[in-house]
Every structure is written in structure tokens, then in C-alpha cells.
Symmetry: C2
């Protein structure tokens, strides 16, 4: 691994973010990344965060048109309420703060506690829970569906509405609408290796894949002998469509887990589009890349988001973050 010692992996990365992105303020000790121009007068602020190891999520999504701040926990472990309160205090302009929370027990508890503490300090807080992974319910770390790729859509689209000056209630409502409009399914072709152990985090024999894996390597629906890209796309897209039933065109995220080359990911994208075409689902926009990752895990996930005209307009709005950038 390209690290110094396992104990400093997260602060080392935060120092690198500070070095590469002068438009961000990074509190390396507190592990909080904030837009340098925060608080932005008259704007609702968005704060997210979670365990590290999923980069660019969340710190790479801080900037105009997306998050105002992100809190980084240890690898695959929730940040603590103190970080979330500090982030909220740093970005609140008086218009309130939306917490974007992935559905893992630790994250949910800590953001709940942080919301109470922040409200005690006079900051208005709203919360949206992201729970899009259709693979399993009630898996390791989670009651209900896990929060995965939909987080990117929620942060991007709600961030765009906040940028337009919408009040907290409307930003919260659109965030919830996006969360309700997204479903995801992922596969692992190899386990990921955590800095702490230096070795594979879970056991997945070469030549097998985990259908429905979580972004921390949590077990999915079943393990099978290696399938082709075509077969995986059929399985993943149909799993998503079984719970989504789009009536509008969809936004599609073809997401790499970190260790899958872009060459393979684009090939998978072709198969995802093929299945969607066969199921008569029009695709309005497609994003391909490593956005919601699991360290060096090989594999991919598909997230579909039903997008009416408002969501599509907000998706297309300018965004300027290290990990997602267009139109500005």
C-alpha cells in the first residue's frame, strides 16, 4: 500500500486534499473539509460525511453546487457527532443545514446526536437518509437498505437547489425525493484491503463474485462463479428495476468500486445501456467512474435515478468540486 503507517492514512489524505485544493479549508485534526468561502450568505448548507475509504465521496464532493462540508471518519467507520457539529457551525449562514446521511447504524446515530447538539446551538438542521441498495435488508452495519451510490445524486441535486437560494424545507424535500427515486446494486470481483490489516478484508476466492456486495464488503445476495459483464449487467439492472419502476428517463451512475479499470467500467456501461434499452428505459444522463468506492475493491455498482424535469435541470446545473465538476 502507498501509505506511511495505517494510523495516519486519513490525516495524510486530508493533508493532500489541503495541498491540492486551496479552495477548500481542511481541519486535519478534526477531519472536517469545508468550502473556503463558507458560510455562503443566504444559502442553505449541505453537510455529509462517513467512514473513509469511499473517496471521492464525501470530501471530494465539497464545493459550489454540492456539499458545503464533509466529515471524514476512520476507514469504514462513522465520524463522530463533534465533527458534524463543527462542520454545521462552520457552514451555517443562518439559513439552516441539511445533513445527508447514508443508512448505516453508526452514521445514523451520530448524525442524530449531532443534529440535537447543533440545534442546541441555534442551528436549524434537517436530515435526509440515503438507503438505496436493493441487494439486502438488515445486513452488517445496517437496519434496512444500505446507502450507496444514491448519495452522489442526493448531494449533487440538493446542492444545486441550495445554490439557487431555496429554503431549507425545499432543499430537504428535493433531497428526500432524490433518495426515494434512486436504487442501486453492486458486485465485488475481489475483496478490498484495509490499511489496518494490509490484507483482504473479507474472503472472496479468485474466480468468484459477490452479487449485491456492500461498500464495506458486506455480504450480498449470493456468491457465484465469475459471470460476464453482460450477465452482471442483466442481474444488477433487473435487481434495481424490480424496486424502482421508472416512469421518467433515468440518470445512470455506472460506478467503479475502486480497483476496476476504466476500460472495464466503460465496457460494463455498454452492457448496462443495452439492458436498459431492452427494458425500454430511456437514459437521460450517464456518469461513469470511480465515485463511491471501497478502497481497492474490484467491482462495480449501478445506480438509477428517476429524473423528472426539475431533477434533470438540477443535475445539469454547474458543480465545482474535486470529484465532480462541470458547467462552471
Amino acid at each position: 500500500m502507498l501509505i506511511n503507517v495505517p494510523e495516519t492514512v486519513v490525516p495524510d489524505a486530508l493533508r493532500g486534499i489541503a495541498a491540492a485544493h486551496p479552495e477548500l479549508t481542511v481541519d486535519v485534526d478534526k477531519q472536517v473539509v469545508v468550502r473556503r468561502d463558507a458560510p455562503v450568505a443566504g444559502k442553505v448548507a449541505l453537510v455529509s460525511g462517513g467512514g473513509s475509504g469511499h473517496e471521492p465521496l464525501h470530501s471530494g464532493f465539497v464545493g459550489p453546487g454540492m456539499l458545503d462540508a464533509a466529515c471524514a471518519g476512520p476507514v469504514f467507520t462513522s465520524p463522530v457527532p463533534d465533527q458534524m457539529v463543527a462542520a454545521a457551525a462552520a457552514v451555517d449562514s443562518g439559513e439552516g443545514v441539511l445533513f445527508v446521511v447514508k443508512n448505516y447504524t453508526g452514521d445514523v446515530l451520530n448524525f442524530d446526536m449531532a443534529a440535537e447538539l447543533a440545534e442546541d446551538e441555534g442551528i436549524r438542521i434537517a436530515k435526509v437518509l440515503v438507503e438505496d441498495d436493493v441487494a439486502v435488508t438488515d445486513s452488517t452495519h445496517t437496519a434496512g437498505r444500505r446507502g450507496t451510490g444514491a448519495t452522489l445524486f442526493v448531494e449533487k441535486i440538493a446542492g444545486a437547489l441550495a445554490d439557487e437560494g431555496a429554503p431549507l424545507e425545499r432543499v430537504e424535500a428535493v433531497a428526500r425525493r432524490v433518495a426515494d427515486s434512486c436504487r442501486s446494486f453492486g458486485v465485488a470481483l475481489s475483496p478490498c484491503s484495509t490499511p489496518a490489516t494490509g490484507g483482504p478484508m473479507f474472503d472472496l476466492p479468485s474466480g468468484e463474485l459477490e452479487l449485491g456486495v456492500g461498500i464495506h464488503g458486506e455480504p450480498g445476495r449470493e456468491r457465484r462463479s465469475m459471470m460476464t459483464s453482460r450477465e452482471i449487467a442483466d442481474f444488477a439492472v433487473d435487481a434495481v428495476l424490480a424496486e424502482l419502476e421508472p416512469e421518467e428517463p433515468v440518470l445512470a451512475l455506472v460506478n467503479g468500486m475502486g480497483g476496476t479499470p476504466l476500460l472495464e467500467l466503460y465496457g460494463f456501461c455498454a452492457e448496462v445501456h443495452r439492458v436498459l434499452g431492452e427494458r425500454r428505459i430511456p437514459v437521460a444522463r450517464t456518469l461513469v467512474g470511480n465515485y463511491v468506492t471501497s478502497l481497492d475493491m474490484a467491482g462495480a455498482s449501478v445506480t438509477l435515478c428517476r429524473a423528472d424535469e426539475e431533477l434533470l435541470r438540477l443535475w445539469d446545473a454547474p458543480v465545482r468540486t474535486p470529484g465532480l465538476r462541470w458547467g462552471a
Copy 2:
């Protein structure tokens, strides 16, 4: 691997590029990716290409402000002259075409032959050779220095000048100036696996690293027991500085080889900035990510580019491609 069969990996990926990026025209049979609005009247066109497996280089760099077309070869194998001539013919507005060529024997021969053929068809051609890797001279596939990370700087900066309407001679001159101003050094922490074999392409025992590796896994200067991120940054940056001697601030590319998580890459970026600070080299801009890759190889490279005011202005100019996008 997330593929169908090894034989269709490149065309499958090209179908995915076509599906995800309607602003590009993809000839899947010919393996050429072109800006949909090409030829752009009054503009010099840029064409590059090379073996596949280095994505987003080159097809991910096609778009306004960068390349007009890219030719994709088989994995780690040069495209053929026919592709390059077809690309040049598709994008030439009459102002001429600049070929951006990485210094590998096959690429050089094929682009030379393509230049002759294109000129026979009445297309003015200029060429720039990218040869930035300081690790070794005359390695596998290459006489002289290998072409690696500098390619991104050449394509971005010359593409920006072409966008301003500069004539072919000036675009060629700035491309050469960028190529002369860039040097790189890379390390491998694991071998990459090619679709054809499904297994490691070269032997690199766990716990060892290759200092000075090429982007096809070519041997570097030496193999050592695993080093820390800090030690690798010292070695890589000093190797680059030994042949660059910047008098201006530098643009820094902290590039992942494909399989190294962004969390580790940002930690490495912090160490690269630390060394540069110790050597009193100011850094004007830093780009961190997987841009010039070697399939799923773990590792990283550092490219530094001496940037005077003109190069910095052109670097900052708008670019809109799948792999690099800002300001537009």
C-alpha cells in the same frame, strides 16, 4: 475481471463511451473517438492515441479544449496508421492537425507513417513526441525516455492554444515546449493484469515495489522492499528534479496507476508537496487522480511541468472532456 471475453474488451469499452458521452462520435469498428462537432472551423485539430489500458488517456481527453480525436489500439499495443489517418481526416478543418505521440517504438513508427499518408491526402500534419519518464532510457518498447504523464499536460495546454485559434506552427511549438518542460517518475506496488491472460503481466512479489516502472509494467531502476509513501515521494520527486531544474512554479500531476485508492493517492500528494516545499519549488496547480493508468496496477507517478505565465493561463483555460473538465 469485469469483461465479456478478452477479444472484445476494447470495442466493448468504446460502445460504453458512445453510450455515456453523446457529445462524442465513436467509430467502434475503426476504434476512433471524435468530437461530434468536428471539424471545428478555423481551428487546428489535435489527434492522439495509443494502446488501450491507460484510460482516461486518450479517449477520455477528447472534447473542447483538448483532443479532437483519439485512436485506441489493442491493450498496450499501438493503433495502426489507418486509424490515425481516419482521425485526422475527420477533424481537419483545413488548419492542419497536430499528432501527439508517446515515445514507444510502435506508436512512433505508426504515427510517422500516418503523417505521410495524411499529407498525401492534403492534410497538413505536425507532430510532437512526448518523452518525459526519467526512470530509464532505452527500455522495453522504447528508444529514449518513455512517454507517460506529460501527455496529459501536452494535450491540455496545446488543446487550449488551438481553441484560441492559433496556427499549427504555434500549437506545435507550445506542445513541444510543454513536452520539454515535463518530467515524470512512477512506481508500481503490484503488477497489472491484462484481459488476455487474466493474470499478472509481470512478476512483482508482494512486499516489494518497482521504482521507475513504465506504464506497461516495463522494468524501472530497481526493485526494493516496500517503502513508505514519504520515502517514495522523496525518491520520485528527486528523480524528476534531477532532470528538470524548475525556475518557475510547477504544475504537479499526482497520478494513480489505476489500482491505488484515492485515499492513498491524496496521502502521497501530501508527501509530494512536502518534498517540493523542502526543495523550495513552488507549486502552482496540483491534479490528483487516475489519469494515465496501467489497467489495475497499484502505484503512482509524479509528473512536474515547469509553467511560465502562458502555460499556466492555457492550463487554466476551459476544458470539457469525459476525463478532465473545468471552467466550461
